[in-house]
């Protein structure tokens, strides 16, 4: 039998699940319900992202995406990746498939990183909650500093990778 990475991960998850079940069945039951909630949150979003990826794939040429995001790993590519990420409004689990799609379509590593980090940390959908919890100054400063420093690690990332 050939073991692909997915099967290995499933095995590890299965073993952890059994260990947890042996240690505390009550907690494991809760974990199982949690997993159900995560699955219900993640799968529909993934479906939408995959449809969107197919849509872009069929209507927009790779050259176009490559030219927008800078095939040659340029600085501006990170900024575009970040801007796209900030408005992406997607679940963390859907961030990586879409970043992979961008990368495959010709975006540079910096753009992929910029997209991932800002989709996680900046997303305009969280701003109202953040402002309400911590105040507008906090929200604005944190988001701006994050945007700026992602640019910094994106540049470092392109050099190192």
């Amino acid at each position: 039998m050939k073991l692909d990475s997915g099967t290995v991960y499933l095995l590890i998850a299965g073993i952890l699940f059994i260990l947890s079940l042996l240690k505390d069945p009550e907690k494991t039951k809760k974990a199982f319900i949690n997993s159900g909630k995560v699955a219900l949150t993640v799968f529909p979003v993934l479906l939408m992202i995959f449809v969107l990826m197919g849509f872009l794939e069929s209507f927009i040429s790779r050259q176009a995406i490559a030219s927008w995001f800078g095939s040659s790993n340029n600085f501006l590519g990170i900024v575009y990746g970040e801007l796209l990420g900030s408005f992406a409004m997607i679940e963390p689990a859907a961030v990586f498939p879409f970043a992979g799609f961008l990368k495959q379509s010709g975006a540079g590593y910096g753009a992929a990183l910029g997209f991932v980090m800002s989709a996680m940390l900046i997303g305009i959908t969280h701003m109202p909650l953040e402002g309400q919890l911590f105040g507008m100054k906090f929200m604005i400063v944190r988001n701006l500093v994050t945007f700026l420093l992602v640019l910094g690690i994106g540049t470092l990332f392109m050099v190192v990778i």
Binding site: T41, L113, V141, V145
Partner: protein, 192 residues
């Protein structure tokens, strides 16, 4: 009639109802895009179907594994555990812990932000709170997914860079908030 009544009360009490509602929205949007393409550009439908099918086939096992893992993580290492560990430490140690430990957390920002708010109320300094949010983006529970789509090198390097990034975001934001906007580094309970 009976069903409408019981479904109304269920919707108010049951968190599943909210999840199902947003799931239905996402599925409907997907089907709508699909249908629109089928209607206006029938030749493109096959590409979309292929992409959806192939990508799901590629990641279905990983996603199930990650889902099980996150479920387990949430009961064995709760976000509250993490914030308790970080809340105890102030100063430098607090910032460093806040830049590393949240790497292992799952969830979305909607879960993390209220958690960090509680951390702040318990006395964590601004830099630690902001570092906490940044470090959460490391997203170690999703590592298998990241490796699959972006490669091992990308994933490991990104997570490693997340740590100094979190420290820097925390300290820089704190400095700006304190020096320019006059915010307090440590919150006081009477404030606001």
């Amino acid at each position: 009639m009976k069903t409408t009544n019981s479904s109304r009360t269920a919707q108010q009490k049951n968190p599943w109802a909210r999840l199902i509602r947003s799931a239905v929205i996402y599925i409907n949007i997907s089907l709508l895009i699909w249908a629109a393409v089928a209607l206006f550009a029938p030749t493109h439908v096959a590409i979309i179907t292929d992409t959806v099918y192939n990508t799901f086939a590629k990641v279905i096992k990983i996603i199930i594994a990650v889902t099980i893992g996150i479920g387990l993580l949430h009961v064995w290492v709760t976000p509250e555990h993490v914030s308790r560990v970080i809340g105890k430490e102030s100063g430098w140690k607090g910032v460093v812990l806040a830049s590393t430990i949240p790497l292992i957390l799952g969830g979305s920002l909607f879960v993390i932000l209220p958690l960090v708010k509680a951390l702040r109320e318990k006395g964590a300094r601004l830099a630690a709170c902001i570092a906490f949010i940044s470090a959460w983006s490391g997203k170690a529970p999703l590592l298998p997914l990241e490796i699959e789509f972006l490669g091992l090198r990308f994933a490991v390097l990104r997570i490693l860079l997340t740590i100094p990034f979190a420290v820097a975001t925390g300290l820089m934001s704190e400095l700006i908030l304190e020096r320019i906007f006059g915010e307090k580094v440590h919150s006081t309970h009477h404030a606001g």
